[in-house]
Amino acid sequence: MRLLRLRYSDFRNLADVELAPSEHATIAVGQNGQGKTNLLEGLFFLVTLKPLRASRLQELVRFGAERARVAGTFLLGGAEREIAVEVSGGLRQAYVDGKRASSLEEYFGGVAVVAFTPDDLDVVKGGPEGRRQFLDRAVFNRFPAYLRESRAYGRALKGRNRLLKDHVAPDYLESWDVTLSQTGARLWTRRRALLTELAPRAVAAFAAIGRTVDPAAYTYAPAHLDDVDFQSAAEPALARALHEALVRRRARDLERGFTSVGPHADDLEIRLGERLARTYASQGQQRALILGWKIAEIENLHAALGFLPLLLLDDVSSELDPERNAYLMDYLAASGAQTFLTTTDAALVEKAASADTVWYRVVGGTCTVEARGEGPASG
């Protein structure tokens, strides 16, 4: 997979921007608020149909414009394909080669993206919700069916919460408990499958980044499960276990009006040695733990899909200490992946650049190509 051309129309502050990215690194340099992140966000949205930053879809449309559009021409398996996405009136529509894509899956066939933003760096010390989202993004990248499966779970969960509030007859609630446990068990097996693939790679990547003696550990195990070994249980056994937990906690759930057990209430546990990284790791170590995870995600997708995902790094270098940044830049240069970086200071990302790097300067929503050499000097 390779992105050949990218065009933004009225996407955030990008009125009309066309990029011809490098086969390897493409670097956008600019001050804050000029539109660098919007370039990455547009690409991320094109490939995942989800906004990179939490926001309503309509916010993606440039102020005063009717619709936003991002279109990319990809080289997929030797053929040029144009995929595009439009946002208008709070709705999005995807197109493949100019034709409406009727299902999301049709659209996600051959492209994958791993994004790395300053928000990710706070995941270790933040709340469980942030870690779940972080984990789910990786699961979705690896297993596209997860999108639909997690929607089904969300719907079952909302339904059960409503029934809890309405205090319906036990038989009626029971039917929702079973549905919730079946859809929930599917999410559990997906998350477990991802962790099985990813965790060893992330541990190795963290060790390679260096400077910490203690090994990293990334584990996922649901809370409130009795009598079942989460790591080895088959999906039906997990569904039964979740169902039992729902029944056990029903009185408490009825009292509080929401469901207290299930994939929506779990946490991705990140440890350094024996201790929880959330409380014991330094800021530098926390960021290295995330960096290790992201590198693992890239390598895992490469192994699973047979091609490297697109890598998007939004001003990450300024948040990493010099040595860890150097490790990341070396890694990117050596990976051979098609990479998009933004920075306020070109010097921070120079090591990721090579002779074929394309440098853009971003000012007030416009992008201009800069000859190599001018970029770093003016940063």
Partner: protein, 197 residues
């Protein structure tokens, strides 16, 4: 200015699902230009459909009598009953010409988010018609989505204690379809429910 009777007709037609303003206009002009007998036949058909067609007292599909054709047909098998969400689903099952039992139409599925509970569906009526010894198997053919599954489970909990065999339609890759066109959730499900040959 177009005449008011024409405007009224266009407005009524435009309320139909799938009919936009332009199509409504085209249909209205067609009716206007056709021989007057067509308009009389059409209006009579409309009148009759609302006056005469009603729900079957037993299975809640459509009929112009007390009971519908499916319930009256002596060749159909009383021992097996297929429960569907709506009339369109009944027609889909019927088109297969494979099913020779009786039907029961729920007229919806349980949906807490839309305020549809057991009392809003024809569930009481289903239980009432399952006299012991007559029906042996109930096939639950609700859709394979969250609400359809939950409804199937709810029915199972009510029907199993009555000594009935309760079955659920299978899910997976459509026949005659290409694997490459199956959506990934369906395909994943079909893979996990694979069987040995």
């Amino acid at each position: 200015m177009t005449p008011e009777p024409l405007n009224r007709l266009i407005a009524q037609l435009a309320r139909l699902p799938g009919i936009g303003e332009k199509t409504a206009q085209r249909l209205a002009f067609y009716i206007l230009r056709a021989p007057p007998q067509y308009a009389r036949d059409l209006s009579q058909a409309l009148q009759e459909v609302v006056e005469k067609v009603r729900l079957c007292a037993r299975c809640f599909s459509l009929t112009d009598q007390e009971l519908c054709g499916f319930c009256l047909d002596a060749r159909r098998d009383d021992r097996i009953l297929c429960v569907v969400e709506g009339l369109a689903d009944l027609m889909a099952v019927e088109r297969t010409r494979e099913f020779k039992g009786r039907y029961h139409v729920l007229h919806g599925v349980l949906s807490p988010l839309e305020g549809v509970g057991p009392d809003q569906l024809r569930i009481k009526e289903l239980l009432a018609r399952l006299e012991p010894g007559r029906v042996e198997e109930v096939i639950v053919a609700t859709n394979p989505d969250v609400e359809g599954e939950a409804t199937a489970l709810y029915l199972t909990r009510l029907l199993k204690p009555m000594g009935l065999k309760v079955t659920r339609i299978a899910q997976g890759v459509p026949m005659g379809g290409d694997l490459e066109y199956a959506d990934q959730a369906t395909l994943a499900r079909a893979l996990s429910a694979r069987r040995e040959l």
